[in-house]
Amino acid sequence: MSSVMTQSLRDSHRGLAGFAVGTALVAAMYAGFYPQMADGAMAEAVEGFSPGLREALNMDDISTAAGYLGSSVFGIIVPLIAVIYGIATGTRGVAGDEEAGYLDLLLAHPVSRTRLLLHRFAALTAGAFLIAAAVWLAMLAVRTSAQLHSISIGQLTSQCLALALLATTFGAVAMAIGAATGSRPAALAGTTVIAVLAYAANTFATQIGADAARYASPFHYYIGGEPLKNGFQWADLGILAAACGVLLSIATVTFNRRDLTS
């Protein structure tokens, strides 16, 4: 049976495949540098950094596999790409397709606005989990060659699950802004600004003495509990999932209230 969700996925399958393969390759490549880092070259370089900067960049224990992956692969590059996927997909899912005129046609069919949002959210989530799964597979593939055995498969899985929820959360932000405003630039720019601020809040909150700010950041719930060392952080994952739920509710209420732009 064709549905709005499967169609959304089919329409974006090339882009999604590109994101998944690209993220996995980048993750594998960076993870592959670990053996060189582990022999102390990186630790020496980091010695020169101030303690504050080291803490901010999560580089305190750069020579352990979990420390290295947590600061490089899962600390910056992979979440960056996954969040970009989330923002792009969440923006297109409502505001982008609305501005392009596609939503007029869909919503003139027997498809309620709520159902449309749920399907678009489901497609976003499926895409985010696919990217996380690709990263997970890439990590497993290089696990031996990159000497990552100190990280268990469970710990790796927990970090990838958090990654999927992180991307979904920012996608839900973009959907909510798009659902409320119908404006593609507002959804895109608004969510990007929120993502940058959220990243900064998580990374530099301690340095600027605004420790509480990090608790408002999805990045904190993504990596603050250090899943690569501590395994599943169910409370953090629950908070990200709950945030998606709240954002989806906001999107549903606002989207049902307004006129579609033409």
Partner: protein, 304 residues
């Protein structure tokens, strides 16, 4: 029973007025033409009926139901062609139609194939490779394919070549014969006249005329040429109510007359007339008078 009822609907966009106190009713099985210049409020009205936008004041009913609360149930019974029909350009025509049919729980394949064949539409083509007219055909197929009780078509023939326009008019006639109701907007009067039972004309968000094409015509300005055999009383002619643009060329008088020719005939019986010619108003011209006239027709428009 009225399929569409619009009662006192006003729609404002910020300070801009979309519709002003619009009243309209479309009966079951009727083909209804909705005419007006670009920006008059045709698409606004149509989008209200589909709950894509909501009225600022007043209410609309379709099949007696609220377009907002009963949207999904109503949309099952409606085929809609948007004024700017857009679909994902990367899809194939057949794929796109199958997806849209799937949203309606499926449509017989043969139905889609027959419509595509009649409109000479290639189902295997990519949408992005299609011309404007061929894309419009995709829009027509998806609107007609599930044989809806109500067809709402916004500028359905835009971009179509004359031959396909004829096929479209046939489709509308067949829909009417099958008991379907058709509500179509246009800015081309002749196309609407060919199929419409009644016509509404809107201008700047207000209804300025609502009647059959024949009656709209009868109320409009006719052009007269009268050649007198005897003396010609120019003053008496000029004094007739509704006469304008009077020119006299020896024994021949030419003028425009609005409304009934009754008083003209009374006058002419007192003269010897050699020849009389009344020209039907050109439809485009008639249409034009409604577009331009500020509010003269508003009062008449309401008692139909």
């Amino acid at each position: 029973m009225a399929v569409i009822e619009i009662e006192g609907v006003t729609k404002t966009y910020g300070t801009r007025r979309g519709l002003v106190d619009l009243d309209l009713a479309v009966s079951d099985g009727e083909v209804f033409g909705f005419l007006g210049p670009n920006g008059a409020g045709k698409s606004t009205t149509i989008r209200l009926l589909l709950d894509l936008i909501r009225p600022t004041r007043g209410r609309a009913r379709v099949f007696g139901l609220d377009p907002r609360t009963d949207a999904v149930a109503l949309h099952r019974r409606i085929g809609y062609l948007a004024g700017d029909f857009v679909v994902n350009p990367r899809q194939q025509v057949g794929e796109c139609l199958a997806f849209l049919a799937g949203l309606r729980g499926g449509v017989p394949r043969q139905q889609v194939a027959d419509l595509a064949a009649r409109l000479d539409l290639d189902l295997s083509a990519r949408i992005k490779s299609l011309s404007k007219g061929n894309r419009q055909k995709v829009g027509l197929v998806q609107a007609f394919m599930h044989q809806p009780d109500l067809l709402i078509l916004d500028e359905p023939t835009s971009g179509l070549d004359p031959l396909v326009q004829q096929t479209f008019l046939d489709l509308v006639r067949e829909a009417k014969a099958a008991g379907q109701t058709v509500f179509m907007s246009s800015h081309i009067m002749t196309e609407v006249e060919a199929v419409a039972d009644r016509v509404a004309i809107i201008r700047e968000g207000r209804l300025v005329a609502l009647d059959t094409v024949a009656r709209l015509r009868s109320q409009a300005v006719h052009r007269y040429t009268v050649t007198f055999a005897g003396p010609l009383d120019r003053a008496a002619l000029a004094a007739l109510p509704g006469v304008t643009d009077l020119t006299v060329d020896s024994a021949t008088a030419r003028f425009h007359l609005a409304g009934s020719p009754d008083e003209l005939i009374g006058l002419l019986t007192r003269h010897r007339v050699a020849a009389l010619q009344a020209t039907e108003p050109d439809l485009e011209e008639l249409f034009f008078t409604y577009y331009q006239r500020p509010d003269a027709k508003t009062a008449e428009a309401h008692h139909v």
